[in-house]
Structures are given as structure tokens and as C-alpha cells.
């Protein structure tokens, strides 16, 4: 059977800098796949190409067998690819609820005039979507923060709300760009558990960029290692951990991966 997401030979250059070079990758449905690599390895560029913000110079990206290589970001999102951003990108003046309701926006049908006049139909639709959003809010245990403007929340909670907003799109694929960056130990553990639950209970396939090796090795089904825009290794966490190229290119010469960073 074919993969949920198929990436074939994609390349991207930025004014002479080869950010990603002939990268191929298959993402199986239901997987948690982590993309790791040193800074500038091309991880975020890869994510941006999947979500349509960059279009690759060459190669092909297909979602469920359909080509999305040159599709615009909003249409990629509509097809079920949601994402979070490396720097928190919540709408800060809006409440948690409004941020999440925005994710339902694309699934609501009633038009401008209807939302001006507030037809009963629009209201009914709103209620159904609201229910879904409440489920997500419950799941992320942020019920008490519903009406709080997101800008007023502490950092870790903002990260959590951003995950919730991505979830509100009902994504098939969830792209998470450093969801634990800048979080403390406890926040990381919470986030790791949410990611596992999202994957298991909600069936979302997860593609994760993360620097915390402990988390990556703990929760990933597969790990892909990028260096200088190229894939240098792919496999289960154990396989990658033992790969000599990875040790050399990514984790330094002598230090073995798995000792320093990994938590039990």
C-alpha cells in the first residue's frame, strides 16, 4: 500500500544555498516520525514544503496519492495537514476559544451575509463545531482558560494551545516544529504525552521536529536524520542511535548518542 505522505527527490535552494537536496521520504499512516539534525540541516524547510509555504525547485510531494507539490498553504491545510510553528504563532489578542474556532473555519459553510445576519443555520453549524473544539479543550486540559486571551498565557500553555489549534483542523497529518522548544522539563513531559495521545486516540500521523533527543527517541516510531539538506539516516530510534554517520555528523565524534541526552 502507498504511504500517506510521499516525498520524492525534493530540492530547495535559497539564492545559492542548497537548503534541501533530493530528499525522499515516505510517511506511513499512524506513524510518529521525527526529523532531527543540526541547525540549518533543512528540517523547517522540509516542513514548509510539505505545508505549501515553499514550493520545491524539483521533486514531488503527494498526500494520499494526490500531488500537492504546488498547492497553496491554505489548500494543503484544507486537505488535512495542520501545523504549529517554531516560534509560537497564536493570535494573541484572541481568546483560546477563538483561536481554536478558527481551525473549524474552513469546515463551516455559511457565507458572509449569513454571518452578518446570523441565520439559524449558521448558528446550528456553529454549535456542532463548538462541540468539537470543546472536546479538544478538554483533551488538552485547558478548560479553565477558554476565555483567556492567548497572549496572557505562560509559554508552555501557549504551546499547548497552538497544538490545540492545529488539532481543530481535524488533521490527518500534524506537523510540529519544535513543540517543546523553550519548555521546561514538566511542560515537555506533558507535551510528549499529548503527542502520543493525539497519535493513538485521534489517529493523527505526526511529523515532529525536535531537538530534545530524549523525547525524540522515546516517542518516535521512526527517525529521519538530516544534515546539510540531505537525508543521512532513517530508521527506528534504535537503528538511528547506532548509526555511525549520525554519530559523526550530528552528535559529534566521540560522544555516543543515547547516553547524554536520553532520559529513561
Amino acid at each position: 500500500m502507498s504511504a500517506l505522505l510521499e516525498i520524492r527527490d525534493v530540492s530547495k535552494t535559497f539564492g545559492g544555498v542548497q537548503a534541501v537536496t533530493r530528499l525522499s521520504l515516505d510517511v506511513e499512516p499512524g506513524a510518529i516520525l521525527s526529523v532531527i539534525g543540526p541547525n540549518g540541516a533543512g528540517k523547517t524547510t522540509l516542513l514548509n514544503m510539505i505545508s505549501g509555504f515553499y514550493h520545491p525547485d524539483g521533486g514531488r510531494i503527494a498526500l494520499e496519492g494526490e500531488d500537492i507539490t504546488r498547492v497553496s498553504p491554505s489548500h494543503v491545510a484544507r486537505r488535512g495537514v495542520a501545523r504549529t510553528f517554531q516560534n509560537i504563532a497564536l493570535f494573541k489578542g484572541m481568546t483560546v476559544l477563538d483561536n481554536l474556532m478558527l481551525g473549524r473555519h474552513v469546515r463551516m459553510r455559511s457565507g458572509v451575509l449569513a454571518s452578518f445576519v446570523y441565520w439559524r443555520l449558521a448558528q446550528k453549524e456553529e454549535v456542532a463545531h463548538r462541540k468539537r473544539v470543546e472536546d479538544i479543550i478538554d483533551f488538552l486540559r485547558i478548560t479553565h482558560l477558554r476565555r483567556v486571551p492567548t497572549g496572557a498565557l505562560p509559554y508552555g500553555l501557549q504551546k499547548r494551545v497552538e497544538l490545540g489549534r492545529a488539532l481543530s483542523l481535524d488533521p490527518k497529518i500534524l506537523l510540529l516544529d519544535e513543540p517543546m522548544g523553550g519548555c521546561n522539563h514538566e511542560e515537555k513531559e506533558d507535551m510528549a504525552r499529548f503527542i502520543l495521545d493525539v497519535n493513538e486516540e485521534w489517529g493523527a500521523t505526526v511529523i515532529l521536529i525536535e531537538h530534545d533527543m530524549g523525547v525524540v527517541m522515546d516517542i518516535s516510531d521512526r527517525v529521519v536524520v538530516l544534515d546539510m539538506g540531505q537525508k543521512i539516516a532513517e530508521g527506528t530510534p534504535d537503528e538511528v542511535r547506532g548509526d555511525s554517520d549520525v554519530i559523526k555528523a550530528y552528535l559529534g565524534e566521540s560522544k555516543a548518542p543515547g547516553n547524554g541526552g536520553v532520559r529513561g
Partner: protein, 297 residues
Amino acid sequence: MGDWQFFALLLSNGILIGLMYSLIALGFVLVYKATDAINFAQGEFVMIAGFVVVGFLISYGAPLWLSLVAALLAMIAFGFGLERAMLRKLIGRPIIAVVMATIGLAAVLRGLGPLLWGADTKPLVLPIGDEPILLEPLFIPPIQLVGATVSLLFLGLFGWFFLKSRKGIAMRAVADSQQVAMAMGINVERYFALAWAMTGVVSALGGVIWGNMLGVDVHLSLVGLKVFPVVILGGLDSIPGAIVGGLIVGVVENVAAGYIDPFVGGGTKDFAPYVVMIIALMVRPYGIFGKQIIERV
């Protein structure tokens, strides 16, 4: 007439005129809020709307209601078309590119109006009489009352739209970050078009009201100049700010004109709001209600 009566008269007039400035400023704010574009052609939008109304009234002999509908539709189409033809191409460019483009557009429109409809001043007559309503010590021209009411109505409507309606919230999301809005599946370009179309609606209303008061010719576009002190005072992206800014500008220019004009022979109306604006800029550069991060133009 006593001193306080004179003052009350200036004040009431200033408030009503101010609300009508708010309406025009609303057009500016809508576009800035949604698209971050600064529209230097707002006054020209109003002028074109006025031209369309009198064009239909006088040249084609159409009834008033038809002329109003025509102006509304024309301005919506104009907003849509402008977004597609000009502004969409400027997305992601430096803000100065948009500013220069709208300044250029303003000049083109000022030329186009008289070219298409003639340079003479045309009356835009509304069936509301011009006998002022006397409420001792005030007397209020009916058009000002109508204008202020329409302004308040639409300010309220758009305020509600942004605060409560789903489309309005999505539009705020677009304004906040186009990139993130796209990642949420929101069609950003469609919201840009919608913002420009809403500005078209506001401009059409402004064109009718101001066209009635000033007559329709190229000078009608000068009401656009009042937009800048209004939005600078209130904040470029704030609808309540447009109301407050409009009230301040209206009251300041009326009171200043009432007390200073007799000594200097007129003209105070035109510069007093700018004096206040400059002072305000030194104290609160982002306006009374604006967000604090604001591009200086």
C-alpha cells in the same frame, strides 16, 4: 446668544461632523486592519462614489434609490477589482510600495472623476430638506443628523463584525499573521478582497452624505485629508478609535473655527486637527486605541 450657547452649538456641530469623519476613517481602518495596507486614496474613493451617484441622478435621470444602489455596487466592484488588479501583486512587498501605489491611485482618480463626469460642481440632492432642526440653543442641519446616524450604525455593525462574527474573527487572524492564517486553511486573498469591498461600501455611504453637504466635484476628495488626523488620534486599526478620533477632530475644528476664525479671517478648520494630530503623535504615537506595534509611515 450667550457664550455657553455658542459653545454648545459648536460642540454639537462638531460631534455630528466628527461622526461623519469617523465613517470615512472607518474605510481606512477596515483596510489597514485586514491587510496592513495604508490607503491614501480614501478621500478619492468617497469622491468617486459621489460622482457615481450624481452621474446616475443627473446624466441618466435615474431615481435616487437606484443611484444609491448603483453607487454601492460600483464601489464594491471597485474595491474588489482594485484588490485583484493592484494590491494583490503588492502582497509581501514593503509597506512603502503599497503607500506609493495608493498615492498614485489617488492622483489617477482625481483626474478620472472630472474626466468622466465633468469638472463642474454637481448638487447631490437628498429628500431630507435643509431646514435646520431647532433645539434651542442648537440648530442642526438634517443631513448632519442623518449622516451621523448612518455613521454610528455602520461603525457599530463593523465593530460587531470584527468582534463577534466568524468571518470577522478570521479577518483579524489574517491581519495578525497572513502566514498562520494560511496554515489554518484560511484563504487570505479572499479576505483581502472582502476588506476592500467593505471599504467600498463605507466610501459609497460617505460619498452620498458628504456629496450632499459639499456638492460633488474633485474637491470632495479633500474629506480624505481629515482621515489622517482621525486615524492617527484613534489608532490605525481601531474602530472605537475611529469614532473617538472623528469626534475629537470634528469638535476641535469646529470650536477652533468658531473662536479663532473671526480674528484670522478663516481657514482654522483645515489646520487645527493637524496641530492636535502632531501633538498626539508626540505623546502617543500609536493612537488612543491602536496596537502599540505600528509601522511609521
